[in-house]
């Protein structure tokens, strides 16, 4: 039955990983604003469709969008 000991230690270590994950999430500010992410994910990525290709800024915006997204990740 000493395998139980190994299992329990393993399970607590796994749980500890999640606890560390949670602490990291809180510290990095993910719990500071719990509303806007839920709305943000519903916004359409309009620039990908690009309804106004004649606007010369559109292309620039697109690249801005991409760089913006990578920095925010």
């Amino acid at each position: 039955m000493s395998v139980l000991i190994i299992l329990i230690v393993a399970s607590i270590l796994v749980a500890l990983l999640f606890l560390i994950g949670f602490i990291w999430a809180v510290k990095s500010g993910q719990y500071d604003d719990t509303y806007s992410p839920s709305v943000r994910m519903l916004f359409e990525d309009k620039e990908k469709e690009d309804r106004h290709p004649q606007k010369k800024e559109a292309a620039k915006n697109k690249s801005d969008e991409k760089s913006g997204e990578t920095t925010s990740l």
């Binding site: 039955m1 000493s2 139980l4 000991i5 329990i8 607590i12 749980a15 500890l16 999640f18 606890l19 949670f22 602490i23 809180v26 510290k27 719990y31 500071d32 604003d33 719990t34 509303y35 806007s36 709305v39 943000r40 519903l42 916004f43 359409e44 309009k46 309804r51 106004h52 606007k55 800024e57 620039k60 915006n61 801005d64 969008e65 760089s67 913006g68 920095t71 925010s72």
Partner: protein, 814 residues
């Protein structure tokens, strides 16, 4: 209406809402591209968004915008050209990119988030923007070479999201850290609680480890290890607070809690070490976890609101200083005596000074509550807090900002001390007696068993402390008041903290401010009864533009705000007859604007003159009465009932900075024995409240302006009335939306019933304690029994308080 791209003035539009802001459109409103707009401002925002292909804004919410009530001025953010100020505001600055976080009170819906996160479509130099909805801030990355901070602020203002810029935001930072700390504490407690429960399962099920004797101590040791972070990290707040309480000879609720925690931990470790039993670590972990969730529930605050503002929030950050013919922008705090500053239209004078221009029109409503403009001539004194209406003026500084007449109020002692802690808070009174009784029981059980066996005596002693640990009691307050705060928040009364509820309940005397509190705010002060024809209104605007009379200016300003401006019209034979009115000819039509005697129109009876001090200005064209303007502040609807509802339970007073011309009306609605004081200076208000308090009364102050700031601070509980919660209000304990002022009696009744609920919930938790104690004193308490009783009692309390508060709210239609 079908013609596109054409503006039209539409009459009789009942129930039509503005496409942009959702406010009901008045008699006249603008129609543009088949969409209704309540004012020029909303339409302009729509056009800007349309030009930038951002109309998707309107797809996420209906009427997402905010009405633009103030006239937008491009020089409002002039101070953002000052490098020193910019430097203080930036989060990060580099050659390529600057980062700034702006507080925008108007953020309120998902469309706001969308628009503010798509700012880069307005200007490619804005790189990335991100909204924090709870704090109502937006963080913007921009390249300083392409766009200045001032341009950003102007742009945000033009689309209805005016940033609020202030230099002292340190308090917010600590609040944020505190919240994060609590989250982590709860996380750690939850982690330990879960694992300890799991490891205690064999005990619950009565499993006997006959074959594996080494397993049981292993589980127990692991439990002790897991309980260390929960006691010394998650639970540290309770232990520290109890220690501080005792040090100040003061028993708070944390004292019995700490006793319980120590008893639980000590006895468990003792039992496990001597291999007597499994200990109570599961109960301990559950206790701390539940207590922390209660703390979290109670600490829900309105981060987007500030309850700490002082005059700096109202004043400009910087002023235009004139020196040897050149002007420079200078932070107001650095203004010295004899400096010369320029105050522009709509700008607030930052310090007391002497007028160097011909004349000025000051709106002192911030300072005095009086809503009329004051004419000041060359050489006259202008006081800090006054708002210039009209042309730019030059002012010589007489006193520095912090020493000025109005700002001196903040040097008053009542601003230096925090409001006294409520030692009278119910929970502290209860816990004092509770602790004494528990200690008495614990010691008598100890001495009773001592005659038989020291072991049983120790068992009984610790068992009493364990079972009596007032977990349920400690949960009563957070959950009752936490729920009350939420209900009131839904009804637009935003409390700073839960302590405000008890302060409300303790109130004896209610003091009201008049202007802006009992009356509707000065903005809606002008109403036109008559045909809303653009031509007519434009001509009225042209005439009133030429008059310096305060009432004319108010009519002109009002028309300007709804998008009508006739200052360029040619007027023949303009005359102003003091005390009567103005007359002149435009396009061959003779206009007379003024009092009823002045226009002497036949066949028209002045209606609705019910002695409430409302001033009416009549408009007459070619001998025909066209309509009238009503300018006096309007009392809130239902005010009589409000006062009626309050007078049976409270003494009521009124303090007005205004003159006493409305005394008669007010006397008719206020109870006979109440004091109505007029011409009150900010300091008089503060002192009035002080006098009441010296008579042992608890005072509730309801006010709105800077002139009430002292009184709000001095009172036992100050409620600031704000047009909408995001607009600025002086430091207070609660912020009440202006539209809900008349519901105050209902809110007070509600908080009183919360007290009853609290007492009931105390009773329930005492019952649990009595049941547990009977086991404890007889020395038959088992860990399993404790582990069941403790969560059940806590859950009962949470369920009872939540249900009963919300049920009560429903009954009262809150």
């Amino acid at each position: 209406m079908g013609r596109e791209n054409e503006e039209m003035l539409v009459k009789n539009s009942e129930g039509i809402k503005c496409y942009h802001c959702g406010e009901a459109c008045k008699q006249d409103h603008l129609v543009f591209e088949e969409k209704d707009f309540c004012c020029q401002g909303c339409k302009t925002v729509y056009e800007i968004l349309k030009d930038n292909d951002l109309c998707e804004y309107y797809t996420y919410e209906n009427h997402p915008g905010s009405a633009l009530k103030d006239i937008f001025q491009t020089d409002k953010f002039l101070f953002l050209d000052n490098e020193e100020i910019i430097h203080k505001l930036l989060d990060f600055s580099g050659p390529e990119i600057n980062k700034i976080t702006l507080f925008i009170p108007k953020i309120h819906c998902s469309s706001c988030i969308w628009l503010l996160e798509n700012l880069r479509r307005f200007n490619p130099h804005l790189k990335n923007s991100r909204v924090n909805f709870t704090k109502k801030t937006v963080s913007i990355d921009y390249s300083p070479s392409g766009i200045s901070l001032r341009e950003i602020a102007n742009m945000l203002t033009s689309i209805g999201y005016e940033p609020y810029i202030s230099l002292d935001d340190e308090k917010k930072q600590s609040q944020k850290d505190h919240n994060r700390d609590l989250y982590i504490k709860i996380g750690v407690a939850g982690f330990c609680f879960g694992n300890i429960m799991l490891l205690s399962f064999p005990d619950y099920l009565g499993v006997d480890f006959i074959q594996d004797r080494h397993l049981k101590p292993f589980f127990s040791i692991l439990n002790i290890l897991l309980s260390l972070p929960i006691v010394f990290y998650s639970g540290s707040g309770f232990l520290i607070s109890a220690y501080q309480g005792i040090k100040q000879r003061y028993v708070n609720i944390d004292v019995p809690l700490a006793l319980g925690i120590i008893a639980l931990f000590g006895r468990s470790v003792y039992e496990i070490m001597l291999q007597i039993g499994p200990g109570y670590l599961d109960s301990l972990a559950g206790l701390i976890f539940f207590l922390l969730t209660g703390k979290w529930f109670q600490s829900k605050t309105y981060e987007g609101l500030s309850f700490e503002r002082d005059y700096k929030s109202y004043f400009p950050l910087a002023s235009l200083k004139e020196k040897g013919g050149i002007t420079e922008i200078m932070p107001v705090a650095e203004l010295k005596k004899d400096d010369i500053i320029i105050v522009r239209n709509q700008e607030i004078v930052p310090c007391d000074g002497m007028l160097l221009s011909e004349n000025a029109n000051m709106d002192y409503s911030f300072v005095t509550g009086e809503s009329r403009l004051v004419d000041i001539l060359l050489g006259g004194r202008v006081y800090a807090g006054g708002k210039q209406k009209g042309a730019n003026i030059r002012v010589k500084v007489i006193k520095e900002v912090s020493q000025s007449y109005l700002t001196q109020l903040w040097n008053h002692e009542s601003f230096k001390k925090e409001k006294r802690l409520l030692s009278q808070a119910i929970i502290n009174r209860v816990s004092k007696y509770f602790t004494i009784i528990i200690l008495l029981i614990a010691f008598s059980a100890f001495f009773y068993w001592l005659q038989q066996d020291i072991r049983i005596a120790m068992n009984a002693f610790t068992a009493v402390l364990i079972i009596a640990c007032p977990c349920a009691l400690a949960m009563s307050v957070p959950y009752t008041y936490g729920n009350v705060t939420r209900v009131l928040g839904r009804n637009k009364l935003y409390l700073k903290n839960v302590e405000a509820i008890e302060r409300l309940n303790n109130t004896h005397h209610i003091v009201f401010d008049k202007t802006g509190t009992l009356t509707e705010s000065g903005h809606s002060g002008v109403k036109f009864d008559g045909p809303m024809e653009q031509d007519l209104l434009q001509m009225i605007s042209g005439l009133t533009f030429n008059s310096t009379h305060p009432l004319s200016r108010r009519i002109y300003n009002h028309l300007f705000e709804i998008g009508i401006d006739g200052k360029n019209l040619v007027i023949d034979g303009f005359r102003e007859i003091p005390g009567k009115g103005i007359l002149g000819k435009i396009n061959g039509k003779t206009f007379k604007i003024g009092s009823l005697e002045f226009i002497k129109s036949d066949g028209y009876l002045a209606t609705n003159e019910n002695g409430t001090g409302k001033a009416k200005i009549f408009v007459d064209v070619d001998g025909k009465l066209m309509g009238s303007f009503q300018t006096a502040d309007k009392y809130r609807e239902g005010l009589e009932e409000t006062i009626m509802g309050l007078k049976s339970n409270y003494d009521i007073s009124l303090l007005s900075g205004d003159n006493d011309q409305e005394r008669e009306y007010l006397m008719s609605i206020f109870p006979h024995d109440s004091q109505l004081l007029f011409n009150q200076k900010p300091e008089d208000k503060l002192n009035f409240i002080k006098v009441l308090q010296s008579q042992g009364k608890k005072v509730l102050m309801v006010g709105d302006g800077l002139n009430d700031a002292g009184a709000l601070q001095q009172s036992d509980i100050g409620i600031a009335v704000a047009e909408d919660a995001s607009s600025f209000s002086p430091a207070s304990d609660a912020i009440l939306s202006a539209g809900e002022v008349t519901r105050l009696p209902l809110y007070l009744r509600f908080t009183r019933s919360a007290k009853t609920i609290l007492i009931l919930s105390f009773t329930i938790s005492f019952l649990y304690n009595v049941i547990g104690l009977t086991f404890a004193v007889s020395g038959t308490l088992t860990p399993v029994f404790a582990a069941i009783l403790m969560p059940i009692s806590s859950i009962t309390i949470v369920a009872f308080t939540t249900l009963s508060v919300n049920l009560r709210a429903k009954q009262m239609k809150l």
